[in-house]
Symmetry: C2
Subunit: 271 residues, 2 copies
């Protein structure tokens, strides 16, 4: 659901499926249909840049607590799209070099190119989330960052990037079950990190930090969506829907040939 | 087929399907089965780096004349794989900045990171193909480049990258039909460029340049494969097969947990 004025994160039902009446099977069918639509729209976005120099692009920002399903979104939603047209950037703990620069330095390098769909798996929002919760920066620096983020996103939007910011929201119980599964299954161990539990304990503080981030960085050109994510199928369908909606609003079409079609047919026949 | 000593490009039957007995339907079924196998292997490659710091990666270099199907390979073979684990780099006509550097400068920036599968849609081989055919560099510079490429690839292999170099090979007739289709269909116009016909006319010179490139840059750690590509389904299946074979040879497995599983289960239960 789109974050509007008076939105309260704690009021969100993480098991809810707002706007969707069906069950898991219906959602999976719907995801399959959406995959073809998304693939078609993405190809037009890409084509428009290749031939028409259309400067537009799409950026999906994914934020969430561990296990909420960011990786699953990339795998199950973005795999519908030609890999040539997608840039996935994963932001982890900043390196020494990254820390020596402004927090947006590493982000700017990963902004999607014209014609592309970019996905941020975590993002500049970590710099007002974990940074706030764990006091990695002084409060006045955190304050400065909200404004810097708004400026950065406004600049990005002005250059032709449609921005969609998503927070996947799961309950504490659901997170426990998912972490337990990662601990039980040898093929899931690699997804677990002991620090996941340290972060989990701080969940109430993270929710507060998200609430502030929503209040400070919700803008018309860079809206936030909080998606209930206890049901993975619902979260995937919702994100796919947001992407389709955003691309649809761009009114994309196949670009007009920049060459003389008949003349080229003759040259081809003679070659 | 793997390029070995005495390989002659002109002897390749571009409509052939060496090593595969079935028809198009059988190939598509086989591609579907391979997709699941490829996805599983890729996840292990990725996991091994995430938890075990496994430095290995895979690089697929795709070279071909226009319309031979490089884009289709990326779309139909690589889409089986989690987008998070794939880096596609497309090399076009070099920019002014790129030309001001050594030809490998822009290539080095796109080498796959540890745990990743990288795909080069065109590559450093353009610098000994179009550069040779169109005399964009003096002969002694082209000569120097074969050695530089071998050194670069040896270095890459030594750092843990498995390299697969593929040339998709189509006939002149097949190319004419495919170009004509691009000229006829408005949704394909964006894939056409008048320069495609200029290049087409030079096809015999390109075949010579490929032949020399094979002779000079076929090494045990960076083999060349020439794949008959008049039948798209055969080319896709062949490339998928090469990728599976390469990943299989890495003997990948789920990484061993670097934490105490029971201790973490207890911490989780208490959280």
């Amino acid at each position: 659901m789109r974050v509007r004025q008076d939105f309260v994160l704690d009021d969100v039902d993480t098991r809810g499926t707002p706007g969707f009446e069906g069950d898991k099977d219906a959602a999976e069918g719907s995801l399959g249909i959406g995959a073809a639509i998304l693939a078609d729209l993405q190809e037009k976005l890409f084509a428009g840049n290749q031939m028409g120099d259309d400067p537009r692009s799409l950026l999906l920002v994914l934020q969430a607590m561990d296990t909420a399903g960011k990786g699953g979104i990339v795998k199950h939603v973005m795999s519908a799209v030609d890999p040539q047209g997608v840039q996935v950037a994963t932001f982890k703990k900043p390196t020494e070099e990254e820390l020596a620069h402004d927090f947006l330095w590493r982000i700017r390098k990963e902004v999607p190119e014209a014609g592309m769909i970019g996905v941020f798996d975590r993002s500049h929002y970590e710099d007002v989330l974990i940074a706030k919760v764990r006091e990695l920066a002084p409060p006045e620096e955190i304050e400065r960052r909200y404004d810097a983020i708004n400026e950065f996103e406004a600049e990005l939007a002005a250059s032709g990037t449609t921005i969609i910011k998503v927070m996947l929201h799961i309950s504490m119980d659901e997170q426990r079950q998912r972490l337990l599964k990662r601990l039980k299954r040898p093929d899931k161990h690699w997804k677990f990190n002991p620090s996941d539990i340290d972060e989990r304990v701080l969940a109430p503080k993270y929710r507060e930090a998200y609430q502030v981030a929503f209040e400070r960085t919700t803008t018309p050109h860079a809206p936030w969506y909080v998606i209930p994510a206890d049901r993975k199928w619902y979260a995937r369908l919702s994100v796919q829907h947001l992407l389709i909606e955003a691309l649809d609003a761009m009114r994309l079409d196949w670009p007009i040939a920049t060459f003389d079609i008949d003349a080229e047919k003759k040259r081809l026949a003679a070659s």
